[in-house]
């Protein structure tokens, strides 16, 4: 783990992490709760994500050579550190399953309904594992490509949909209540949680410490802007009830897009761009899960656990995606309850412990 990545690459990773699930499944879930306030919930959630990201950067900055788990080791000892690593592993396991649901339901439901599920899962495990073996830099480089893909995807959906936008459909605001809209942000918070948790694991691999905050928070904000287009279009073109009616709301947008008379049904092109971003998420989550796994096992090189970790992630994900109701219930009801306490709790605990045991942390080898 000696190869370092640039801040721009890190920013690209953050942008990718908040995107793929955030534009489709998350918006559909949010629309079922707060109807046409999903775009406001998205903005609020991005701001929350930016604050959490800033806290994570502050925590890691105290010892820029240590991941958040290594800091826990240094402050509270190895065994409690292992518990923290286990919690982080649980988070990355859940996050991987959430992204696998996104991956499988996009490709299987809309493009390859006769394809067996296990082949999607195999692709979602084998390709990221290959990248993870080659280190973070490979994923980071693909993430830069992923950002261009996201921009291309957004341009394509805008060109095909803007003429159908009825801004009246974004009204009324806060129809389901302000606090309900705030509560709905928990779903998109789980997407940003992936970015903040990942930052806690990989920031030591980003070479320019001074630009961390700018890159991390900038990634959340730029990513947020790229995502925000989707709830606005989904409400403005489809309407909120229609967005909430579908499991994968963004695909409904994609197959409604049309440029002029002749260019329609270009969702195959859009899904290719989307797939790159999705792949980056899968790679990064296997990478971070492996880092957490190696920490639990007390191993120095994460590569030793990549295969077993990916088998656990892939196997659990396969079980979940087999049943649409189970998968959507997990994403809607269980995942925020599991993800947010870990994703908010770990950085806050790290920040608090670092403040209390400043000298111990500075002196740790």
């Amino acid at each position: 783990m000696t190869t370092k990545i640039t801040t721009a690459m890190f920013m690209a990773l953050v942008i990718n992490l908040g995107f793929a699930k955030g534009i489709g499944l998350t918006q559909g879930i949010m629309a079922r709760e707060s109807e046409n306030d999903i775009w406001i919930a998205t903005i609020l959630s991005v701001l929350q994500g930016a604050v959490l990201m800033l806290i994570t950067v502050w925590v890691i900055r105290r010892r820029p050579d240590m991941t958040i788990l290594e800091q826990f080791d240094a402050i509270v000892g190895k065994w409690i550190g292992k518990v923290m690593a286990l919690l982080a592993f649980v988070f990355f396991l859940g996050a991987y399953i959430a992204i696998l649901i996104t991956f499988v339901y996009h490709f299987m439901d809309y493009f390859l309904p006769e394809f067996p599920v296990w082949m999607f899962v195999l692709a979602a495990v084998a390709i990221p594992v290959y990248a993870v073996f080659h280190g973070l830099e490979v994923t980071a480089r693909i993430a830069v490509l992923g950002v261009f893909s996201i921009v291309a995807l957004n341009l394509l959906i805008m060109v095909g949909s803007l003429k159908d936008v009825e801004l009246d459909r974004l009204l009324p605001v806060f129809e389901t209540g302000f606090w309900n809209t705030v509560a709905t942000t928990r779903h998109y918070d789980t997407d940003w949680a992936m970015a903040t948790m990942t930052a806690g694991m990989i920031l030591p691999l980003v070479n320019d410490t001074k630009s961390w905050a700018k890159g991390a928070v900038g990634g959340v904000l730029y990513g947020g802007i790229l995502v925000l287009l989707w709830p606005i279009l989904e409400c403005g073109v489809l309407s909120a009830p229609q967005t909430g009616h579908y499991i994968v709301a963004c695909m409904q947008m994609a197959r409604s897009a049309q440029v002029g008379l002749f260019l329609h049904r270009y969702e195959m092109i859009m899904i290719a761009f989307f797939g790159i971003s999705l792949l980056v998420q899968l790679m990064l989550l296997i990478f971070c899960a492996s880092l957490a796994g190696s920490h639990v096992m007390g191993m120095k090189d994460y590569r030793g656990v990549v295969i077993p970790v990916s088998l656990i992630l892939g196997g659990s994900g396969y079980f979940v995606v087999l049943n649409h109701n189970r998968a959507m219930s997990l994403l809607t009801n269980n995942w925020p309850v599991i993800a947010l306490p870990i994703a908010i709790g770990l950085p806050l605990l790290g920040w608090l412990l670092g403040l209390m045991f400043k000298k111990k942390l500075a002196a740790a080898a």
Partner: protein, 404 residues
């Protein structure tokens, strides 16, 4: 060690990736549906599906059969089932190819089915179908849907394409809203508006090439009028005149024609104006616990035809006609609102607009909306400006014509 594992791993991966045939369907195994008709089945509780399927080898040319073709560009098949899905599966009894929906242009629903059985399963089935385009047009017909699906109209070789093209140019007459599957589903799921669908029917308007002297012997599909629904059941239809008023609310056309009398002595003499720009606004109000609406329409039009020879200047003529245009437009909007109020069906989507402006009040009154709508006060304010006489400097007047 690392590289030793990488190559076998990649090779094993290729075994899965390059097998190439999972889920593959060759294009010549597909029966491409271009239009589908849904009628009430003969047995209660059944639905009859009529699929118009393109015969690709014969679609290329209309006159004469290509070498390997039959000369018929479409093949129409029908099947019945207890659900739409079952009926479509039953098409497999006759179709030598797998039915494919990706190119379907139009869904035609028979009035009987829409009135008696409702459209819930139509919305549900077609919105679940991943192959279907969300831009597929949805229409209602008083005829048999199977008849519409099989009728060749206009210049197109494939009837489904004909209906599709009718929609592309329907703005010119603006007598039917353009409703696709996406729009229909949005209205259907909304609690502030009811579904409206355009009406198509066959009319004997074509001239057969075999018998050119017999005018009006060939049926053509006409797109004109609107069907409105209450919940999922067809409640009634609007004639083309009432539809013109409805269009301002649900699908304002880019351009419209307004024909008004221009002579007080001869009502058959008319002036024709083409609306080029408009601003249409519905302002919901909540007055003393009751909903009310203020409707504002500002139009700019051109004078495109004047049947009244006059020695007045164009400026005078245009100024005089503006009041008539305003009255004409006000009447058509008023007629549409009256139709909605009388039938207690909110096909204009006024509830949805009220909800946008008064969400809290909407929650209180939405259960009683049809009743409140029928007594809601509506003020209509129309302002028309005729901007251009188009090309001509003075009205066309024969030498002998006097002042009129």
């Amino acid at each position: 060690m690392h590289k030793q594992w990488t190559i076998p791993f990649l090779l094993i991966l290729c075994v899965f990736g390059l097998s190439g045939c999972t889920g593959a369907v060759d294009i010549n195994d597909l029966a491409m549906v271009m239009a589908v008709g849904l009628d009430k089945g003969d047995t209660p509780g059944t639905v009859t599906v009529t699929a118009q399927i393109a015969r690709p080898s014969d679609v290329v040319g209309q006159t004469g059969a290509p070498a390997a073709g039959t000369g018929e560009p479409i093949w129409t098949a029908t099947a019945t089932g207890r659900s739409i899905f079952e009926a479509i599966r039953n098409l497999g009894r006759y179709s030598s190819r797998r039915v494919y929906w990706g190119h379907n242009k139009v869904i035609v629903i028979g009035e009987d089915l829409a009135r008696d059985e409702g459209i819930n399963d139509v919305v549900d089935f077609f919105s679940r179908n991943h192959e279907l385009r969300m831009r597929t047009w949805v229409v209602v017909t008083p005829d048999k849907a199977s008849q519409i699906v099989a009728t060749k109209t206009g210049l197109e070789v494939v009837p489904g394409n004909s209906i599709d093209k009718l929609f592309h140019f329907s703005d010119l007459v603006a007598e039917a809203p353009k409703i696709d599957l996406r729009t229909m589903q949005a209205s259907y799921l909304s609690d502030g508006s009811e579904v409206v669908l355009p009406v198509v029917q066959t009319r004997l308007r074509g001239v057969s090439t075999d018998n050119p002297k017999e005018f009006g012997s060939t049926p053509q599909v006409e797109l004109s009028g609107t069907a409105y629904f209450e919940k999922d059941k067809l409640k009634g239809t609007l004639n083309p005149d009432d539809t013109e008023g409805l269009m301002w609310f649900v699908d304002p056309p880019k351009t419209r024609v307004v024909v008004i009398p221009c002579s007080s002595s001869n009502p058959n003499q008319t002036a024709t104006l083409e609306i080029r720009h408009y601003k249409f606004k519905v302002v919901p109000q909540y007055v003393q616990g009751r909903p009310a609406f203020r409707i504002q329409l500002n139009v700019e039009c051109n004078l495109v035809e004047l049947d009244c020879p006059t020695k007045q200047s164009h400026q005078q003529v245009m100024k005089a006609l503006e009041a008539s245009v305003e009255a004409n437009l006000k009447k058509e909007i008023s007629d549409a609102i009256e139709a909605s109020k009388t039938n207690k069906v909110d096909f204009l989507g006024l509830g949805s607009r009220f909800q946008d402006r008064y969400p809290a009040e909407w929650q209180r009154i939405k259960s009683n909306w049809p009743e409140l709508l029928s007594t809601a006060k509506v003020n209509i304010d129309v302002s028309a400006h005729i901007r251009s006489p188009v090309l001509l400097s003075t009205p066309t007047v024969p030498d002998s014509a006097g002042d009129r």
